[in-house]
Symmetry: C2
Subunit: 385 residues, 2 copies
Amino acid sequence: MAMKRVATSAIRAFTSSGIPSPSSVLTRELHASPGSKKIVGVFYKANEFASMNPNFVGCAENALGIRDWLESQGHQYIVTDDKDGPDCELEKHIPDLHVLITTPFHPAYVTAERIKKAKNLQLLLTAGIGSDHVDLKAAADAGLTVAEVTGSNVVSVAEDELMRILILIRNFLPGHHQVISGDWNVAAIAYRAYDLEGKTVGTVGAGRIGRLLLQRLKPFNCNLLYHDRIKMDPELESQTGAKFEEDLDAMLPKCDIIVINAPLTEKTKGMFNKEKIAKLKKGVLVVNNARGAIMDTQAVVDACSSGHIAGYSGDVWNPQPAPKDHPWRYMPNQAMTPHISGTTIDGQLRYAAGVKDMLERYFKGEDFPQQHYIVKDGELASQYR
Amino acid sequence: MAMKRVATSAIRAFTSSGIPSPSSVLTRELHASPGSKKIVGVFYKANEFASMNPNFVGCAENALGIRDWLESQGHQYIVTDDKDGPDCELEKHIPDLHVLITTPFHPAYVTAERIKKAKNLQLLLTAGIGSDHVDLKAAADAGLTVAEVTGSNVVSVAEDELMRILILIRNFLPGHHQVISGDWNVAAIAYRAYDLEGKTVGTVGAGRIGRLLLQRLKPFNCNLLYHDRIKMDPELESQTGAKFEEDLDAMLPKCDIIVINAPLTEKTKGMFNKEKIAKLKKGVLVVNNARGAIMDTQAVVDACSSGHIAGYSGDVWNPQPAPKDHPWRYMPNQAMTPHISGTTIDGQLRYAAGVKDMLERYFKGEDFPQQHYIVKDGELASQYR
């Protein structure tokens, strides 16, 4: 397995074992053997919900369902949801962990500073998809491997995007709010409720999720457009009927609905700023389950307030958890949720299995499935370059 | 045009014109000529929303956009939203109207008593689909024609049903409510959020709307079942991959999600009572955009409270508008709205055009498109028998 730090750390383990401090001796005697690892997982806490579903493996309490398996092999497995600030639980384990498992839903921000402190760190695993909470350049420079469970929740996210498109275009939420507040005013909903049929939907990015969305949109008889760095293969293009738009700025004004399906990279960060949003059709609906930081937060608020964006829905925020005063909570015509689309029970079972598989390969010194690598041998995967 | 009352009323018009009362003379001089008609439309009122969208033709103020056309031909066109009780505006016009246009979204209940009082009534038009607010047997016995704009909003309703399936299975609403109340608790959503993929979805009824729903569900890779009086044609069955279930009671326990797509008839009224609901899988999700009265109101509340039904979403109620104390407003895990799914702007434009077309044919004495008839020549359409 091509990870520079595996070798470096193995050498360090041997040399440092000569002069252990009392506490580290204790830890190592209890949990570590020459081949044993300290693995830290950072997941959202479930409290009373942890026991409500036996398949709810994605929370801190249920810890991907791999605790017994890891501990039976002599590894140490620490799990926490406490991830921010200098005194958090995660910070305590940074100096001696070997593997850090994180998730986009409750992201532990793996900064260059943390990577520098993490002398034993070899492997960063993302339980889910999207490793932008990791400073990937710093990870590459440090010789770490970063991998995610590619494909584990693409269906989950694509389904959720189609739900959000429908919620916005049908003007669902004002109707539901009438119900719970004791009102009945069909007109207040209907004057801006539309069918999806016949509308133009464009996806910014047509990778794994974007393509699944296009397939699901196909029977709705929309006009489907996509922008990406590369054209889809002709078979998939003809199957979905989506048209390639090489020039993003040329696609934007054509769309009644825009869906963001691009990873967060240096290029996409803040991409939808005031100028880009101005290119969108007046009254456009925007769905973004990709990453909050792809949007300029205030530009979205302004466009929702002016009506230029007639509806905005997504489950991604910058930062996460979204603070109580995040302006997207209060802007008009939003259909936001916490970061949830990729962590359905089905998605959790798939990414937990994927993490277990990669840990198993890591312990055996085997390679991961190629598509899982985000950083390998000091190189970033193509979508993050 | 085969309407008994057309002839009867024409005779009455001639005979009664001999001894008109002063007020009826005034009315007739202003509005009526031998061929002119008094047409009454009952639609939901839009108030400040009426002017917010030029295509918002479905409200009382915009009156299907046919006022100028009707009046230019010498017809009288009265539009109101005041439809209930002995002193309502509609009641005043019952004795002398020729045509009554109603809508399922704000249903004017055309009872046997009203039909008896409406001596000039010839034609009942439903702007939309679903004429169960009309006492169809009484209408047939009185020789009236009842017609609706079949097909006008089937796409609108089918899209909305798929939205509701996704809202329930993804557990969208608790997430959105967290956002607006300043919270962030992914676990409280995720422990009961699932992908649609791989689940079993059954539709009770596979008419025009049910079929469109099955087509839209196809790319979601579900197990699709349908119950209907008749099997679909083999091409559509193989296109959607849906399996026919002749025995409803055998289908019900198989489904993770049940969608009601049957008209309200004597047979379907109260069909989902306590016993029927008990046959559903525990934790089932139920979507009902068909008619509220197909369900036993309290049985649904009880099943939502016990968790037997894990989520219930629909836009139809019994009665409509739903009173402030309707228990479906307050039951757990509901994703209800007022009756809205068929009255998107696109749907309104289609059913307004359909009503205009039928009026035009009625004035000329021509037949309507066959599929629009609900009652003709004293006979109910097959789906209402």
